[in-house]
Structure formats: structure tokens, C-alpha cells
């Protein structure tokens, strides 16, 4: 069986853009030769992406306390320098971390956390929706690309590991998942990915039994195909239902298996619960590769707060949950990378409502065992008007695709085929991954 036929089969499980047609264009450039990945018997690398929806204010996450003008243009919002009350947590001479992210500092000290400043999109849009779409599809400005970059990876890569016990015949159906009711754009596309529903739905056995004959068991006795005609087939909607049934069962089997549960205390809350489940799935090491989740509420046009306040509370929840998660992973942290990102940064100056408006350059936090952390990456130009994008926002000195490319290449051992990032010539970001 060639890789091509695997892709075709996966395409039939598609969640594509229209009920009538499937998006095939993005796969045309793939050639089988460059796609294989070899892991021998090492655990599969896992990638966890966290998207801060709304354009998180990069300068109050990775704080440029060393740049004097930061304090001039943010009279009420600036995070004080390290060692003052509510001050940033010192990373180096120029930058500090928001104090609410204190739980992440041990990972910085262990050189497992790399903040990247001034990272973003070459496209100038300040629309949330466009910026998110462009970033998640890794195709700035191209409205013709509809699949997400993570889905593209799933559809184009295949695992050349030797099959483990019991999985020789079993297709790996839980390579990726979103810890929320709907998939983020990055995971949309031809490869079927589970959007994990709430526990109430997940654990409702009576419902799953009722819909077994329609979406599950039918395949076992082969009746589904026998009775379908081209015209009456449920098509893509039906296939999505079958995927739902199969992947939910698999997810439950993993998280309900006590051997996968950990001992670390999580801070509680929705994000924390979700990451706890992700940790179980990663630890199970049954072919899982990608988890994605969204956190909303970063569009801080007003009352953003500084060391304390709205944004600080969100950061505290993020930092606490992530720290527990990475601790919980134990040795699996070695083969896990976590990326925290947002669609753009915000205006360098605060606005008249104690907030900031849509900007351009942003930041990323990259964490994990394979990250060469302990240093702030990305070129910083300063905050004088001449240094800013349109005299108001951070310039983008690192293309977000540089980071995606490097994580896929170094961490996921995946050489992106030509046009994986349409119209982009890969550029390595130096010193991110070992």
C-alpha cells in the first residue's frame, strides 16, 4: 500500500469544507518519498499548541523592561522592572516574564522554555479572524488555502514505526485531538481529528449504544457498504459520525485507563482539566501526536490591568496549568513540545481606556524537553517610533512560519514538502530546538 492510498483513505474520513466536494489541492505537491518519518522504537514526539484568542498583548507577557520607552508609552499598564513590587520576573538584561507566570520560571531555569519576541505574520491585517485564519493555515494572505497547518502535517505524514503490540491491524485513529467542542482552524482539513466533547457526553453509554448500529457497529458486519447507493449515502456527514464514534471510544479507553493517570496536583479549572487529559493521552504513548486548545479573552481593548487585573488572572491560570501539565508528563516531557501563540500583538502605546488595540508583532512561548530554552529568542528593535510597525506596533522580525517549520522539522522529524507553507521559503530560527 502506497502512501498515496493512505491519504486517499484518510480523505474519505474527511471533515472538509463542503458537503459536496473535498479539498484536494493542498496535497498535490506531496510526493511519497519525502514524507516518511522514522522513530524506531522511541516514543512519538507530541506537540501541544495553545492559542490565545483575541491578540494577546505580547509586551505584557514577555516584558521589555530594559527598554526605557516601554514605561513612557504605557503609563498605567506597564509591568514594573524586576525586583520592584509586582515586577517582571527577570529573564535577562532586557526582558522579564509577567509575574503571574511565576510557575513557569522553573522551566526557564531548566532551559526548557524559550520565549520568542516580535514573532508574527508578514501580512498586515489587524482583523482577528483573518489573522487567526492566516496563522492557523500558515498561509498569510492566501484565502485559497483552507486546511490548517497541523492537519496538513497529519494528512501528509505517516508513521513508519514498527507496529506495537496489538496495533498492527488497527488504524491509529487518535493521532490528534482538540480539547474543546469544535476544532481550531489549525486542525481542520482532510485528516479526521476528534474535537473532544464534555465528559457528560463522552460518558453517556446509553447514547453511544443507541447510535452504535448507525455509526459504529455497522462496519463490522459490512452492511453499511452493502446497502448504500451513491445517491443515498450519508456522505461526509455520515463519515464524520463514524469518526466521532470511533475516536471517542479510543479517547475514553485511554483516559479511563488508570495506568495512564498521574499524581501531580493541578490548579483546577477548565484549562487545567483539559491539560490533565492531554497528559494521560501523551503518557499512554499509543500513537498520539497533537493536541490543540484555545483560550479566549485576550482582546483587551479596555481595563487590561498590569501586574494584576484581567490579563494577569488569565496568565496565572495559563502558567499554573502548564507547569502542572509539564511536571505531570514526567519523562514524556522529553518528547513533548508546547507552543503558546496568538494571532497578533497589540499596540505598543496604551489607549485611552486602560487597554491596548490590535497590533502587529507578537510573541510565542515554546516549551519542552527538546527546546533549547533559557534564552529569549527573536530580534528586538526597540520602541522608538522609527522602530515600530506603522509607528504603532511591534515589527515582525521572526515569521511565525519559521517557528512552525522548525518545530515540525526538529521536533516532529517531519521535512515539510515544497508548498507545505505556500509561497514561503523556509528560514530556520536559530537555537530553538536541539
Amino acid at each position: 500500500m502506497t502512501h498515496h492510498s493512505i491519504s486517499r483513505r484518510r480523505l474519505l474520513q474527511t471533515t472538509g469544507v463542503s458537503l459536496a466536494s473535498l479539498p484536494l489541492a493542498s496535497l498535490n505537491s506531496a510526493s511519497a518519498a519525502c514524507l516518511g518519518r522514522s522513530h524506531e522504537d522511541k516514543p512519538l514526539p507530541a506537540l501541544v499548541t495553545i492559542f490565545l484568542r483575541g491578540g494577546a498583548d505580547a509586551m505584557n507577557i514577555v516584558v521589555p523592561y530594559g527598554t526605557k520607552r516601554y514605561y513612557d508609552i504605557r503609563p498605567t499598564l506597564a509591568i514594573p522592572p524586576p525586583d520592584s513590587e509586582g515586577g517582571a520576573l527577570k529573564l535577562d538584561k532586557k526582558f522579564g516574564l509577567h509575574p503571574a507566570l511565576a510557575d513557569l520560571m522553573p522551566f526557564w531555569e531548566a532551559e526548557q522554555l524559550a520565549p520568542i519576541v516580535c514573532v508574527g505574520s508578514p501580512h498586515s491585517t489587524r482583523s482577528h479572524f483573518d489573522a487567526q485564519d492566516f496563522m492557523e493555515r500558515a498561509a498569510p494572505g492566501l484565502r485559497t488555502v483552507h486546511d490548517g497547518w497541523l492537519n496538513r502535517y497529519l494528512a501528509l505524514s505517516h508513521d513508519t514505526r514498527k507496529p506495537r503490540r496489538g496495533e498492527a491491524e488497527k488504524a491509529n485513529i487518535l493521532r490528534a485531538m482538540a480539547m474543546q467542542g469544535l476544532l481550531p482552524r489549525a486542525l481542520r482539513g482532510p485528516h479526521a481529528v476528534l474535537a473532544v466533547p464534555s465528559r457528560r457526553v463522552l460518558n453517556d453509554d446509553a447514547t453511544l449504544a443507541m447510535f452504535g448500529p448507525l455509526y459504529g457497529n455497522m462496519a463490522d458486519d459490512g452492511m453499511g457498504a452493502a446497502v448504500s447507493t451513491a445517491e443515498t449515502k450519508g456522505g461526509i456527514v455520515y463519515e464524520t459520525g463514524r469518526n466521532t464514534m470511533a475516536t471517542m471510544k479510543r479517547f475514553r479507553a485511554i483516559v479511563d485507563d488508570s495506568k495512564n493517570s498521574g499524581k501531580v496536583r493541578y490548579p483546577g479549572g477548565s484549562l487545567s482539566d483539559k491539560l490533565k487529559d492531554v497528559a494521560r493521552v501523551v503518557r499512554a504513548d499509543e500513537g498520539f501526536e497533537i493536541a490543540a486548545l484555545d483560550i479566549g479573552g485576550w482582546d483587551t481593548h479596555s481595563n487590561q490591568g498590569g501586574s494584576e487585573g484581567n490579563m494577569a488572572n488569565r496568565l496565572a491560570s495559563l502558567g499554573g496549568s502548564l507547569a502542572a501539565f509539564m511536571t505531570d508528563l514526567g519523562p514524556h516531557l522529553e518528547n513533548t513540545t508546547v507552543m503558546v501563540m496568538s494571532e497578533f500583538g497589540r499596540t505598543c502605546r496604551e489607549n485611552g481606556n486602560y487597554g491596548t488595540d490590535h497590533g502587529h508583532g507578537g510573541m510565542m512561548l515554546v516549551m519542552g524537553g527538546g527546546v533549547e530554552g533559557g534564552k529569549v529568542l527573536g530580534k528586538w528593535n526597540g520602541l522608538d517610533d522609527d522602530d515600530l510597525y506603522q509607528a504603532r506596533d511591534l515589527n515582525v522580525t521572526t515569521d511565525f512560519r519559521d517557528v512552525f517549520y522548525e518545530v515540525l522539522r526538529k521536533h516532529m522529524n517531519f521535512d515539510t514538502p515544497r508548498d507545505f507553507f505556500p509561497g514561503y521559503k523556509p528560514d530556520k530560527i536559530k537555537g530553538l530546538m536541539s
Partner: protein, 517 residues
């Protein structure tokens, strides 16, 4: 099925799948008989009688007919420190009532309203001009907004609705235009500079303070969404410079703060940015006598703009016809929009009577959004709703709670946004819970089983399919129903309709066929 020519009943069914929030047997019979065009004409004239069951339910919602001011007076009581704990809690809970009743109002009207075309149009424009009750004070203003801006205007002109939304406190608050103000004048900046210079004796600091002050005030949030989401469509005919101009033109459009006046729109001279404004390759001249008119002129330009007609026509066709609507059809509809100066009834009519509407590629081509799925299931089962809260919870589990969209885009209406593995399971659970009576406050009508009572169990699937999926079902659905029925009979159970029919109907509601419209 393969024939491009639909018989009358299937034609009516397709039409009702788009121009109602779910056909019922009675409605399908009516439209089959008189034809979609005639029925649509009656609907657009607003001649449908109000449903008595609906009226009975709506009168129980105390905030339903209130103005913003009345909502504030009755539901937003002060909570001074000397209140008892109990009274404080009561007052705090009282504040949540209007938004909750608003959600009930929308749901009940969608399910029971006889004006189904209006319900479809409201559903569309509620998302087109989306506001969310978890932002600012929108939860107090959304009741009036839904009634006055959306419902009362979906059969009017687009320009009228646009203008009403631009001036309504719900939108002014939701997208921050209420706080957007002119940057300080040069004189004011000079004052800031002087003051800081006196304080710090530093020229540099004084200049910086003046720079910061210069940035204060202008908020682009509404301006951007006005162009991107409400009129032209993203990056269509406009630039960032236009966004800033629009923000300047609309400075001063804010919310009345005089409690003796209606809690509505107010124009604030003091907040308004002076000067001529260049926008969309035109110049809006400073109107110092009536600065409000600058904004009116802007809205007028937008309503007449070719881009707006194209964008609204495309979005309506996407909603009512196909996720990827035929370009020529969109152009025809956009033409009607321009010719009729945005008369929305003419636009709906143009879509419904366009040759493309019944094209084979459009039949059952739309995937129901959660709201459409839930409402159509409640309508198909003629459910009696005494309490809406569990239905809202189900919509929440499906990520489409009314008036709580996280983005000002409103909820997407394309399959792509909803068709995820996993999301399906929530619909299955709803289907089962509904028929098992497990949704508190909601009962399906026992009459849906009447037909089965005098028939052999072997005929039940056929009867149910005819009722719930009159345009046919996929082989997989029929097989699953057959298998479930067969097992039941083979196990030798008595043929009690009440035991088996709910399971069969649940499977139908959770089938791929019922997710499409």
C-alpha cells in the same frame, strides 16, 4: 432522486428547509398545496396569525417588551453596602433575568412562530450584527436590540437596520464606539506638555506625555467591524487608513447618560473629531453645525457601495442556498439589492425565486448549525417547552448559545465550522434525551406516535421516515433503523409504541440526513 425536477412535495420540503427553521407535517402540506412562492408572499406581508401557544409563553417573560431604560429600572437595582446578604444576592440574580428571558424569547419564537421567514431572517441578522451579552452592559440592552434593531427591521431596508444597529447602545457598548473620542486638540496637547514640563522640568518627558495623550481616545473596534463584518466584507475596497477615518467620523456616537432621557443614542459634540475625513476615496467634509451628519453620510456611502450589495447578497446566498453559492446567482441578488436600495424583502424573494435555488447541487447541501438542528428537532416533534434552560444548555454544549458568540462575526453558517468529529456526539445525546423525556421542561408531543398505533411494527420505520425525512434517507440510516427494529421484534418484546418509537425517532434525529437541510 437523480432527476433535476423535484416533485411538488420535495420542492416544498427543500424550500422550507431554508425558509423556515424546520418543516412540520402541517406546514409541509400547506406549502406543497399552495406552492412556495405564494406562501412566501404571504409571509413577507406579515399576514401570519400569531401562534396562541407562543403568545401564552411570551407573556410570562416580564422583560420581553421593555425598553433599555425600563430594563435598567426594573432589573438593575443598586447594591449598597447596607443590604442584607440575601437581598444583595437577589438583586444580583435579578440582573441576569433580562438576558435569560431574551434567550427564551428567541428560542420560543423560533420554534413556535408562524412567521417562519421572519425567524430565518432574524437568525441571519442576529449573527450578522452580532452582539454578546457577556460583554459590558450588553445584557441589559440586548432585549431592546433584538426587538427593535433585528426583529422589527428584517423586513425593512438594510440601510435602516445598519443605522439602527450603529446607534443602539448594545452595539455602541459591545464594539466600544461609545467610548471612542477625538484625540486631544493641539491646544490640549500643549497644555499637557506644559504641565508635565513644569512638573518634571524635562523637555523629553513632556514631549512624550504629549505623544501619549495624542493617542488617547480613538477606538477602532467598531469602525473595523462596520467595514469588515457589517458592510463591505474583509479587506474589500478599504484599507487601514479607511478604518481610522471611519473611527474618526463616528467619534461622538455614544450612549445617552441623562437618566431623564430614553437610554438610547446620543451624539456628543465634545467627543467628535473635527476636520475633513477621507474615506473610501471620498471626502466627508467637516460639518461643524451638524457633526452627526458626517456619520450619517458615511453610512449612506456604505449602504450604496457596490461592495456592500455584493457582500450581503453573498452572505445571504451562503446562508439560504449553498456554502459556496453560485457566483452568477450572487451577482443577480446583489443587483436586486442595489436596485431596490437594500429592500430586504425583495432580496429574500430574489433568492427564493432564482432558478439556481432549486438546482440539484443545492438540495440538502447545507449542514444545520446547532441552533437550526435543535429548533428543527423541537418543531418536528411538536415539543411542548415549559422551561427553556436545558435547551440553552444543550446549545451551549454544541457551542452555539444564543447571544453569546465569542466573536463579532456571529456564528458561522458553513458546514466547515461545525462538522467536527466529536461535535456530533452532542447532537446524538440531545436526540436521545429529547425523546426519552430527559430534557427537563420539554416534552415531545404524544401525537407523533398516533400514526404508529394502528400499524404493524414492520411498517413503523417507513411511516417515521416519511414524517421526519420526507426527502429520503441514506442507506445507512435505513439499515440502522431496520436493525434496531428487527432486534426488538426478534427479542420478542410486545410491540408497545412508547417503548420502541422513541429510539427509532432518536436515531432519525441523530442521523446524517437530519443534520442536513
Amino acid at each position: 432522486m437523480s432527476s433535476p425536477f423535484l416533485d411538488d412535495r420535495r420542492r416544498a420540503h427543500h424550500f422550507l428547509n431554508r425558509f423556515s427553521l424546520g418543516p412540520t407535517p402541517a406546514l409541509l402540506n400547506e406549502v406543497t398545496e399552495i406552492g412556495p412562492e405564494k406562501w412566501l408572499g404571504k409571509q413577507l406581508e406579515g399576514r401570519a396569525l400569531p401562534d396562541r401557544r407562543l403568545t401564552r409563553k411570551l407573556v410570562k417573560l416580564g422583560s420581553y417588551a421593555l425598553t433599555n431604560r425600563e430594563v435598567m429600572d426594573e432589573y438593575v437595582l443598586p447594591t449598597p453596602d447596607n443590604l442584607s446578604q440575601e437581598e444583595r444576592r437577589r438583586r444580583q440574580q435579578l440582573r441576569n433575568v433580562p438576558a435569560r428571558e431574551l434567550r427564551d424569547t428567541v428560542l420560543l419564537q423560533a420554534v413556535y412562530g408562524e412567521d417562519q421567514v421572519k425567524e430565518v431572517a432574524c437568525d441571519f441578522f442576529r449573527n450578522h450584527f452580532a452582539v454578546a451579552t457577556d460583554v459590558g452592559r450588553v445584557r441589559y440592552y440586548a432585549t431592546e436590540y433584538e426587538r427593535e434593531v433585528i426583529r422589527n427591521r428584517v423586513f425593512g431596508s438594510f440601510g435602516d437596520m445598519l443605522s439602527a444597529s450603529a446607534k443602539h447602545p448594545a452595539m455602541l457598548d459591545y464594539l466600544d464606539n461609545a467610548v471612542s473620542r477625538r484625540p486631544p486638540t493641539k491646544a490640549e496637547l500643549k497644555q499637557v506638555e506644559l504641565r508635565v514640563r513644569q512638573q518634571t522640568r524635562s523637555k523629553e518627558q513632556a514631549e512624550q506625555a504629549s505623544d501619549i495623550a495624542a493617542q488617547r481616545g480613538l477606538n477602532e473596534n467598531y469602525a473595523r467591524e462596520l467595514l469588515e463584518l457589517h458592510t463591505l466584507g474583509v479587506d474589500n475596497y478599504y484599507t487601514q487608513a479607511d478604518v481610522e477615518s471611519v473611527a474618526r467620523i463616528l467619534t461622538g456616537w455614544t450612549i445617552e447618560n441623562d437618566s431623564a432621557k430614553p437610554l438610547g443614542f446620543r451624539f456628543s459634540d465634545n467627543m467628535h473629531a473635527s476636520g475633513n475625513k477621507k474615506v473610501l476615496r471620498k471626502t466627508i467634509k467637516e460639518n461643524s453645525k451638524q457633526p452627526l451628519m458626517e456619520g450619517e453620510e458615511l453610512l449612506d456611502i456604505l449602504v450604496k457601495h457596490k461592495g456592500t450589495s455584493e457582500f450581503i447578497a453573498w452572505k445571504l446566498c451562503r446562508h439560504l442556498v449553498n456554502d459556496s453559492p453560485d457566483e452568477k446567482m450572487v451577482a443577480r441578488v446583489a443587483g436586486v439589492f442595489r436596485k431596490s436600495k437594500g429592500d430586504l424583502r425583495k432580496v429574500y424573494l430574489a433568492i427564493a425565486t432564482d432558478e439556481e435555488f432549486y438546482a440539484p447541487r443545492n438540495i440538502r447541501a447545507k449542514f444545520k448549525r446547532p441552533f437550526e438542528f435543535v429548533v428543527s428537532a423541537l418543531r418536528a416533534t411538536d415539543a411542548e417547552i415549559d422551561d427553556c434552560s436545558r435547551i440553552h444548555a444543550a446549545l451551549g454544549a454544541m457551542n452555539e448559545q444564543l447571544y453569546l458568540c465569542k466573536d463579532p462575526t456571529g456564528y458561522y453558517d458553513q458546514a466547515e465550522a461545525w462538522l467536527d468529529p466529536g461535535a456530533f456526539a452532542v447532537r446524538w445525546k440531545f436526540s436521545r434525551d429529547l425523546l426519552q423525556g430527559k430534557i427537563d421542561g420539554v416534552r415531545v408531543s404524544p401525537a407523533i406516535y398516533d400514526e404508529l398505533k394502528d400499524s404493524e411494527p414492520t411498517t413503523w420505520n417507513g411511516l417515521l421516515l416519511e414524517r421526519f425525512l420526507p426527502s429520503g434517507a441514506a442507506g445507512e440510516t435505513r439499515s440502522a433503523l431496520g436493525k434496531t427494529l428487527r432486534e426488538y421484534i426478534e427479542l420478542g418484546y410486545n410491540s408497545h409504541v412508547e417503548d420502541l418509537a422513541p429510539a427509532l425517532i432518536s436515531i432519525i434525529l441523530g442521523s446524517p440526513d437530519f443534520q442536513k437541510q
